[in-house]
């Protein structure tokens, strides 16, 4: 079920009303109801894969208890490996199996051995598998690192794993944040609900208006890159930057907003990454839940930055390569991760990776300084360049795309593949950037205006935008569902 579908617009109010009216007093019933709703939400896509969620839930539920009850570190570690192998095994089979087989065949081909790739399978990638496996693993890892005590309530744990607002594309929550809320009685909070509704509206705007409307342009340019000049290709990848941001941050906002309606606070996933002043700041603002996961469970256990510079650099490379690989079973994602590692390392070596942690651009003024504008433009350009790899179907296509920019360094006016006015999109993105800049201090309050009238006008304009850019004929699924 997609957040931007009619099904969800019927599902959400029904679940919301039943949740607060019928199960208001009993936490256990509240959780059972959310669990059933979550399984229904997921099952409407493909009910068979509910068994995978259930298996992952059951394994980590018991593994968590075993880790906690074991005295010896060796045994604790053994149980942790059960969780890691099971979850990574699920991911490995459903997401990476064909990639490894094909890569193996390609590798032996280099050495002159011809092998037909007959071992590859027709595997459907279960939606959200990368997200919920990481979430359940975090539970076992936190218990292993003694940051968490396991729960004895299977229903609560299953609700934590499958909580429908964030089940299929995050934010990837840690048990210390989400499970503790699931096991605590929720009471109806008017302010929290209105904040949730506002986030849902803003998220829908980002998805329907920003991401979906420019998708046909990006698809056209990447599919026919060989016939376009550099100006069009640069336009294509720049628009893709906005598309992927609108798509994923829109999803996250809807997820956070929906969770708020049920009295649950999820972590922020996007903090206006387009205004980052260096790549390190970008990673503190883009897909925060995944970065946090990797920092806690990979980077810090490897020694993080508390080891020698050389080892720290190694850790950074590992984390970015793994992060790239997490996105998909394709060399393009690994290349994308590698580029980000190369962009991050100089910032790290100069000791500038934490300087923008607690402030935003133009922190105490209306306008950014000239230096900040240059920094933002440079960061945006570098990140956008890396997206050539993120968006291309294969490494060959990515290099072909870059080669075409170099070889055909010309300017031509691009015409929309469906004949629409391109100026509409430029005006739209201009206003969108200005608005995001206006609200840059708080990603959870997109309609923070003192005047009720201004707030009301903002709601109306956002909904009007959705009408003006709604397109019935395009694929409305979210990009991150494939990861």
């Amino acid at each position: 079920m997609l957040f931007n579908s009619l099904d969800f617009f019927i599902f959400l109010p029904v679940v919301f009303i039943v949740y607060w009216l019928l199960f208001y007093k009993n936490l256990k019933l509240q959780n059972i109801f959310v669990l059933v709703a979550s399984y229904l939400f997921y099952g409407m896509w493909d009910w068979r894969f509910l068994f995978l969620i259930l298996a992952s839930t059951t394994v980590d539920y018991f593994v968590g208890q075993y880790i906690y009850s074991c005295d010896s570190n060796k045994q604790r570690k053994r149980w942790l490996w059960v969780s890691v192998i099971f979850n990574i095994g699920l991911l490995g089979f459903f997401k990476y199996y064909n990639f490894f087989i094909d890569s193996w065949v390609d590798l032996i081909d280099i050495f002159g051995y011809k092998q037909q790739s007959s071992w590859t399978l027709q595997i459907i990638l279960p939606v959200g598998i990368s997200f919920y496996t990481f979430q359940t693993m975090s539970y076992s890892l936190d218990i292993y690192y003694k940051r968490l005590t396991p729960t004895n309530d299977f229903i609560s744990f299953a609700t934590f794993v499958s909580f429908f607002p964030q089940l299929v594309a995050g934010p990837i929550e840690r048990a210390s944040n989400l499970l503790s809320q699931v096991t605590t009685k929720r009471t109806f909070n008017y302010k929290q609900c209105t904040e949730g509704l506002k986030l849902i509206i803003w998220g829908l705007f980002k998805k329907v208006v920003i991401a979906d409307s420019i998708a046909p342009i990006v698809d056209d340019i990447f599919a026919n890159y060989g016939s376009y000049p550099a100006s069009t290709l640069i336009l294509g990848v720049t628009l893709f930057s906005f598309q992927v941001y609108g798509d994923f941050s829109g999803y996250s906002d809807i997820a956070i907003g929906t969770a708020k309606l049920f009295g649950i606070e999820l972590m922020s996933n996007f903090k206006f990454p387009n205004f980052s002043r260096n790549v390190a700041e970008y990673w503190q603002r883009w897909h925060v839940s995944l970065s946090t996961w990797f920092r806690h469970y990979v980077y810090i256990p490897l020694g993080g930055s508390r080891v020698s510079k050389l080892k720290s650099v190694r850790n950074i490379i590992i984390i970015f390569l793994v992060s790239g690989f997490w996105h998909g079973a394709n060399w393009t994602f690994i290349a994308w991760g590698a580029i980000h590692a190369l962009l991050y390392i100089p910032v790290f070596l100069m000791g500038r990776n934490r300087i923008y942690m607690n402030n935003v651009v133009a922190e105490n003024s209306w306008f950014p300084s000239f230096k900040e504008i240059l920094q933002i433009l440079l960061t945006f350009s570098l990140v956008t360049f890396s997206r050539v790899f993120f968006r291309s179907e294969s490494i060959t296509d990515a290099f072909g795309f870059l080669k075409q920019i170099y070889n055909n360094f010309n300017f031509e006016i691009y015409e929309h593949p469906l004949g629409y006015r391109m100026i509409d999109y430029f005006v739209l993105l201009g206003f969108f950037l200005l608005y995001e800049y206006r609200i840059r201090r708080d990603e959870r309050s997109p309609f923070k205006f003192k005047s009720k009238l201004v707030r009301f006008i903002a709601y109306t304009l956002v909904i009007l935008g959705m009408l003006l850019f709604f397109d019935d004929n395009i694929d409305r699924s979210f990009i991150y569902f494939q990861f």
Partner: protein, 322 residues
């Protein structure tokens, strides 16, 4: 909870009002003229109406229409005389041309090309061959004074019936309920951009939930061809029947068609039996520009230029004289 529901409902209401205002101020929704069934059982637009046809979410196509005294979209009134040379263009929405300013219609383009000719455009969305011939027959006196009549047909759509009957389906759009709904420009706009399709489909799904679903039989290529052939034969029978009923005048009537989407059997029949036709397919094939609009398949300005050119060339060829 109560406060949330009440306040949300209030906000929804106010937002809807504001959107209605926006849609009206920026004229995002199309105007729909009123339909009538006249005393001759001819369906047409109510005379003397003006409005704007809008296509696309953001007014990608915006054009003015003017329904004349005869009930058709045209800049001129239809008053054929024995002194002037008049040509009638009869057809569906393609001839009606709500997608182009009425003063830049196909007729106007033909008149520019042949100044001595007056073109009367009897276009009405949904008119098939039966509607067209019934109109010509019902207004016999008027059409007898017109020198030449061009009938636009699309083979796959316009020959599905062999005799004329009033199409009640289209007239139901004038029901009190529909008229009331059309008063909301926001609703008209939302319907035109397809945002109301999902709830409508859901409604049909719910209505049909208890009805048994009849499975569509899987047909072989031969069976599909056989059905296609049967349909083509039926369309030809319908054409013959209508031509017979309404005494089709081969000297004064010409068909306007696209041979790319017309059956060869039908084309052969026309040729063998002396039915004249203008085939505009070559004009469209040779065009390097798109001939249709962005949002629908109606001809754009360039497409209409080509149609006008095809008709003008034909009229010059037959050399109409009074």
């Amino acid at each position: 909870m109560k406060k949330l529901i009440l306040k949300s409902a209030l906000y929804v209401f106010l937002v809807l009002i504001s959107l209605e205002l926006f849609v009206r101020v920026f004229h995002l929704g199309k105007d729909t003229p009123t339909r009538i069934l006249d005393e001759y059982n001819v369906e047409k637009w109510m005379p003397n109406q003006n409005g704007y046809s809008v296509t696309g979410n953001r007014r990608q196509n915006f054009s003015e229409y003017h329904i004349n005294n005869s009930g058709y979209n045209s800049y001129r009134e239809f008053t054929p005389t024995t002194d002037n040379i008049e040509v009638a263009l009869v057809g569906d929405s393609f001839i009606e041309g709500f997608h182009q300013n009425y003063y830049n219609s196909i007729g106007k383009k033909i008149e520019k090309s042949i100044p001595e000719v007056e073109v009367y455009e009897y276009g009405y969305a949904g008119y098939d061959f039966a509607d067209q011939l019934h109109l010509v027959y019902a207004y016999k006196e008027q059409f007898d004074a017109i020198d030449h009549i061009i009938l636009g047909i699309k083979f796959s759509n316009d020959l599905t019936r062999g005799k004329y009957e009033v199409d009640t389906g289209r007239l139901q759009l004038e029901s009190p309920m529909n008229k009331l709904l059309k008063k909301s420009k926001l609703l008209v706009y939302c319907k035109s951009i397809g945002i109301l399709d999902p709830p409508q489909q859901l409604l049909y799904r719910i209505i049909n939930i208890l009805r048994p679903v009849s499975k569509k039989p899987v047909l072989s290529k031969e069976e599909i061809n056989k059905i296609k052939k049967q349909k083509e034969n039926q369309y030809l029978v319908n054409f013959k029947s209508l031509a017979d009923i309404y005494r089709y005048d081969k000297d004064r009537f010409t068909l306007l068609l696209d041979s790319r989407i017309t059956s060869d059997t039908f084309l052969s029949y026309l040729k063998e039996n002396g039915f004249n036709y203008i085939d505009f397919s070559t004009y469209f094939e040779e065009s390097s520009q798109s001939t249709i609009l962005i949002y629908d398949k109606h001809w754009n300005n360039h497409g209409r230029d080509l149609i006008a050119k095809a008709i003008s060339n034909y009229l010059k060829e037959i050399d109409l004289k009074k």
